[in-house]
């Protein structure tokens, strides 16, 4: 794991996420609050019972995007440390797929940063899940990453 400023953790894992260890990692004496987000596998999708999920990622880009979100958190909010971990491979019902912990001296920044982190992760990090049902499997409806503000769009054909 690369050493990062702020002593943050960004990981993709193929084994269960140790949430207690991550929460403890971001905890420091100068902080007063930790907000965590635990996203786990629901037992149904659009009222169809789910058997399990299978996650895949464009790993190098996903990690880069997760670190980018972390950098944004440190720029936007008065927080201390971030831990952001996403699991890959097959996950059973109720297993944690994504875990985020943010520590801060005061709770408001930790709440805001954690919310921003999971919302942005779901929109911009290249990870996909396939949902398995009794009678087949589908790729979950995803979100399109936001328009490429920094890059000029192709001109419409004239």
């Amino acid at each position: 794991m690369a050493t990062l400023p702020h002593d943050d953790i960004y990981q993709l894992l193929r084994e269960p996420i140790d949430m207690a260890a991550l929460a403890s990692h971001v905890r420091a004496p100068e902080d007063g609050a930790i907000v965590t987000f635990d996203g786990f596998v629901r037992n149904q999708s659009h009222n169809r019972p789910t058997l399990y999920l299978d996650y895949e990622a464009y790993e190098s880009m996903a990690l880069a995007k997760m670190r980018e979100i972390g950098n944004q958190l440190h720029e936007k909010y008065s927080i201390h440390r971030v831990a952001m971990v996403h699991r890959l491979g097959r996950l059973e019902i109720s297993e944690t797929s994504v875990f985020i912990a943010v520590s801060a001296p005061h709770r408001a920044a930790a709440f805001d940063a954690c919310r921003f982190a999971i919302d942005t992760l779901k929109r911009t990090v290249p990870i996909w899940k396939k949902e398995y049902f009794e009678d087949g499997a589908v790729w979950a409806d995803g979100e399109l990453p936001p328009a490429l503000a920094a890059t000029p769009r192709a001109k419409p054909a004239s």
Binding site: E56, I127, W139, A140, G142, E143, P145, L148, A154
Partner: protein, 102 residues
């Protein structure tokens, strides 16, 4: 005995650089990987200049790909990239279906 240089040996120097071949690595994810039957592909070409043209090349081989064009986002070297982004040799291009992590 070493072969004498062929009389045509200097021919390539006359070919304009525009036809230079470049090699890129192309990655497919999610349903695009299933459609194309491949996760990673190395391709060499001299007639493709943008990500859009590269996608069209694969769509010609796998017509079902074209249906997903409007919901696909492309990346170049791990950064989201516009469809008219020019390609360079050694680039890693990926075609990404709508993301669904979390």
């Amino acid at each position: 005995m070493p072969l004498a240089p062929l009389p045509s040996a200097g021919y390539n120097s006359l070919v304009p650089p525009v036809s230079q071949t470049i090699r890129v690595t192309v990655l497919f994810f999610g349903r695009l990987k299933e459609l194309t039957g491949q996760a990673e592909h190395s391709i060499e070409f001299s007639d493709v200049t943008t990500i859009e043209q590269l996608f069209a090349r694969y769509a010609a081989r796998h017509p079902e790909l074209a249906k997903y064009r409007s919901s696909v986002v492309a990346s170049r070297n791990q950064e989201f990239a516009a469809w008219d982004t020019p390609l360079r040799s050694g680039d890693e291009v990926a075609f990404l279906p709508p993301v669904s992590g979390g």
